[in-house]
Amino acid sequence: MSVFDGLKFRKVYSPIHNLDPRIKFIYVCAIFAVAIIFGELLPLITLFLMQIPFVLLAGVKRQWLRSMRGAVFLATIIFLTNFIVAFMGGREIAQSLENAAAMTMRFIVLVESFSVFFLTTSPDHLGLALEQTHIPYEFCFAFTTAVRFVPVLAEEAQTIMDAQKARGLELERGNFLKRIRNYIPILIPLIISAIRRSLELAEAMESRAWGATKNRTNLYVLKIHRSDFVLVAITAGILATAIYVRLFFGIPSLNQLLGGLL
């Protein structure tokens, strides 16, 4: 469940936490776009390293590391599939390795930036940001509720696992298919309790006059500060540099660089 831990917001204050969520989201999208623009290992590693100051500044190193650890499993699958497909396709080993590493790095950069975003943005701020971009309140509410319930469901999954283990269920027992089947007693209660929870939430909301007025007002209103403009500048800089490099420079592969050295 460590992947979910990496997405769980904790109330702390840091320069990154105080940034406007809309600007932060634009920044994450820019990083996302740059990670897609480049398929080579070197720029992707640079992109990865560039986020680390943000993590340190936000003071969420521990949770961030946990989410990175949670991504290891998927990252390994991505690496292996890419490597095998490239190698079978007739490429050299070194080239296939680098290509697979680049694709894995791209995934890691995506997880990394989203993790930083969710770790430093409270669901309330996220909802406000969506509302202030004139997205209908119903959608904003559905979205923030979904985000808010991810850690709750993760916790519930743990309790369900405990309850079934207490009835003699061994998740790690049997062959591959049996192991997948072992998860049925965990998934069904989880889905049912999520549905039940959502129905209860709907009733609770209705009884608290949800949707009674058309024009909702907010106690807090998001404002753009000076530090937000700095992030806008950084984002624009990263995007511009990335596009410039992509268009006018050939990016050497790690193999070529090392080969040149040798």
């Binding site: 309790t159 405990d162 009835r167 003699g168 061994e170 209660p189 039940r196």
Partner: protein
Amino acid sequence: MIEVEDIYFIYPSGVEALKGISLTIQNGEFIAIMGQNGAGKTTLVKHFNGLLKPAKGKVLIDRVETTKVSVATLARNVGFVFQNPDHQLFSETVEDEITFALRNFGFKENIIKKRVTWALNLLGLTQYRKTSPFMLSGGERKRVALASVLAWNPKILILDEPTIGQDYQQKEKLRQFILQMKTQRKTTIIVTHDVEFVAECNPRVLLMQDGKIVADGEARKVLTSPGVLTQASIVPPQVAQIFLQLPDLELPKNVIDIYEAQKILLNSLEKKAK
């Protein structure tokens, strides 16, 4: 027998839930663990079937250390019924739900059939045999969860909040059943906030507060000690409250049973009449 030797437990979030707990529970004992929310009651009992392992100290079940065996192995002897039945029900019918654990433990088909019938009968669920557990009411689902654990006849039974959502009749049945467990030298441990239920059963009471045991003794003694009870945010049972609030009548202070109280009050009235 359960032996707990000076255990400590810290959750990954950093909360220290148990702070040096030691206790011994003999076979056939009936124990109620009480205390306010977050006192560490559920954390403690989760150590008895190995779901949680102590950070420091030891838990031994029949002289076997819980860190040395799997939860499934321990679960064969230690049945644990969770507070919320919705955390375990998943089968299409009540019958399948009860069969689940029996299959996990490798019982033979003919024995499984007998055990299922026995458990359904015991908890008054026979008419729901082929019903989906999700169609049942909250209290009934709770009984299905209980039946699914009782079916394999564990030596130690742990019930987390068993009386929530149960009417008086079901509570009485539960009490009778626990007494029956006692006569079979089986251990029952309940985690509960239901003071009246505990008063009716008169078990050994463990009072917990802030990860420590603050009182351990007979229910009639612990539940009539206002000092420790206030500390653990528990109100004495109603009968005890009456006796504690009538100091002028010179009544005994350690009464929690209604019938005993009735007898004492009648005697006292008779004496006054003379």
